[in-house]
Symmetry: C2
Amino acid sequence: MSNESQELGVTESKSHRPGEWYAEVVQKAGLADYAPMGGFIVTKPRGYALWERLQDALDGWFKETGVDNVYFPMFIPESFLEREKDIVEGFDPEVAWVTHGGHDELEERLAVRPTSESIIAPFMAEWTRSHRDLPLRLNQWCSVVRWEATETKPFFRTKEFMWQEGHTAHATDEEAWAEVWTRLGQYERVYEEVLAIPVLRGKKPEHDKFPGADTTTTVEALMPDGKSVQGGTSHHLGQSFAEAFDITFVDENEDVQTAHTTSWGLSWRALGALIMTHSDDQGLVLPPTIAPTQVVIVPIWQEDTKDDVLAYAEAVAEELEAAGVRVDLDDRDERNPGFKFNEHELNGVPVRIEIGPNEAADDEVTLVHRPDNAKTVEPREGVAETVDEHLEAVYDKLYTAAETNLEENIRTADSPEEIMGTIGQHGGYVAVPWCGDPACEEVIKEKVAAEIVMQPLAEDGSEGEPKAPEDDDATCVICGEPATEIAYFAKSY
Amino acid sequence: MSNESQELGVTESKSHRPGEWYAEVVQKAGLADYAPMGGFIVTKPRGYALWERLQDALDGWFKETGVDNVYFPMFIPESFLEREKDIVEGFDPEVAWVTHGGHDELEERLAVRPTSESIIAPFMAEWTRSHRDLPLRLNQWCSVVRWEATETKPFFRTKEFMWQEGHTAHATDEEAWAEVWTRLGQYERVYEEVLAIPVLRGKKPEHDKFPGADTTTTVEALMPDGKSVQGGTSHHLGQSFAEAFDITFVDENEDVQTAHTTSWGLSWRALGALIMTHSDDQGLVLPPTIAPTQVVIVPIWQEDTKDDVLAYAEAVAEELEAAGVRVDLDDRDERNPGFKFNEHELNGVPVRIEIGPNEAADDEVTLVHRPDNAKTVEPREGVAETVDEHLEAVYDKLYTAAETNLEENIRTADSPEEIMGTIGQHGGYVAVPWCGDPACEEVIKEKVAAEIVMQPLAEDGSEGEPKAPEDDDATCVICGEPATEIAYFAKSY
């Protein structure tokens, strides 16, 4: 290998050193770089383009379902943060504090928002007077800062991260629940329809809820290395924030009522899950739904065939572009086809079209799928439709692989030792009957760093009730006490 | 007036108390509220929708012209800020400093970005190796913080404000100039085609450039109260940042060269200009290009005509929506038509369609233009096309009024007293020959708080050369020395 292709290619192995491999893919595929301050990253054009596409999808669905975008200040006065006690306890250790403006010390410290309930809730209180003002559904796309000490992993774990945070107020508990499910459903949809990742819907155990929440619901995605990613969370906040910030309204009978609020967020961790799930030792792999470039055409010519091949390739590119395909024609002179193949593989272009003198002469195109290198020769006629089918086929391959990984990695266990052994050997989820006591989780957590990441919901879990074990006499596999819930143990990002 | 309509309506007068009137329109039309910390605002749904629409337009043009979006950390280490001396001198007094993360004091203070040259330039240096890596064109949509002590004016002057900042690197000075003009042209276009505001293109005087820039170009908009708004700036940074941060590249001849860089930014001050320019004592006025709702249909019924009127109005609404018009049907039962008229006027809906029993019976619609209440009865047939024409007419009315204001308010003067007298009496711009010495500006600035906001460019001002006075023997109207440039004095926001 030349120096140049060494520099270009991924050298780490996904199966042997997933952490190092991930970091290499992120950097070499041009998604992000590390910032000079520990814990921060710089999101490069190809990385940001993924975020924009995800944003477009989710933002469209939010707007279709009654959500308005807003923007609140990035700073929260310390006294506001202190008004909801769980929030301050939960986030205080992680807050970045602004203490000086210009040359002057501030009278009151300002928190760089770790989440915005404490600055949004007072305004929800002001804007909510009558039942006619409800539901109130606000969302903002922004970044937040949490000063975590753990190691940086681009998109998965950074001190500043981009996300959206939705904040809503409702007249009734029932409406707040409906909101929680609408947003969780949209998170599920963005994973399944945009990122090609199947997810599990459930709730977090009571002791692992969002600070101040009544119930935290979650979508969890299983990575190929056996760890679970919390893909997005939708919180029923009950009336705790409404009481702390006085979000009340006058109902139809002229009585003053306290509102029920929710909040929900999805961060660029979704991009981490995307990269981790589909990519391989050749680099990034992207589903066509989110790939900035869906198809790259690589013309292959000798001096005497160059004009014909290029003209043919250009016509194909134009036809695809007219049909709405995001297509690039890579007609660079200074690079040979082999170099181009490697580069586009590294960058995760879902479908490559090779066009040489043979294709041009025979009115054909050669299509290669990024995930498995499957190669097909197809007629030139109707190429836009053919390419659409191939893009769908690539999507299906990626989704199916992720689905198989998920389905094959939900296991059960009959003892704490078996939970630990199974997670140690296979990773994935281990579903067990659980008594509900956090002490039982601790037993596992201490030994193998796995925890309860999710609890499936009861069939009519419309208020977040966890699913009960099928056997009425089931006992907690850890302590032997009666088990009322099912818990999914896993290691997590 | 009932209490409710008093609360709804604007009480201040644009011509008598423009500052108070502006603040009232912003709040009552639901664009923004004041945050609890002085100097910050909360951008409400209707205000944010305007920003999103402006963003869509500008972002699309950026992408069509080779710009990639990125995201850099919101914090900049103090040592990075210090690497370009003009930047640190220019912004140091206005920086908000993060000194603590969680419970620990940071080893190095972090600036909340006042502008991002100092964090982006080092990465441009890393990403720019060969001439093939140029031009490099990056942009980010984000907020920045500048700790100014002056009074808060929503969108015009806030400690945190939203903007986009573009940062580019080029192989030659000429290419950097081309970039400066491309972006200034796009700012001009967004004002003229989206905000319905004509602007003047020019440069800032040398002593009022962006810190570290060779030349700062600007588009300036004249408000109805006679003050100028700096609408957006595009800076040629020369090689000062490239030298400070080592942005070099290997050219075609294998020689190492230093790049030429630019930066350019447009903030939500553009929304301030939009609101200030067109609105009136009834509230917000918006051009249809940016109005979230372009047309509101208000049905007017009695009990016996309700069904017919509503059915007719719904059909009109559907037809307009199908034609791509952003239309709302205000069929609220609990409000009478008069209340609705006032509310939609306050919120700046460009065209109102009134539909009563007469319109329904005669197959007609009544259209009312927001800016001047002009009322027309039009046939129901072809309503979508008719509405399009009316939306264009509203746009033209607004643009023409702003254009007239601009054209009528560029004056000349033969003495410092006349500059001051003219600005005092009429506001607007006073164009005079100027020697180029900032001391002459001071004379005016001290007495009437007007300054040189802009200098028109020479006919071939492709490198930012200011226009010279037509008379070769012209002298500076302030000091009497030979004048080489023309300067536009004005008060400014």
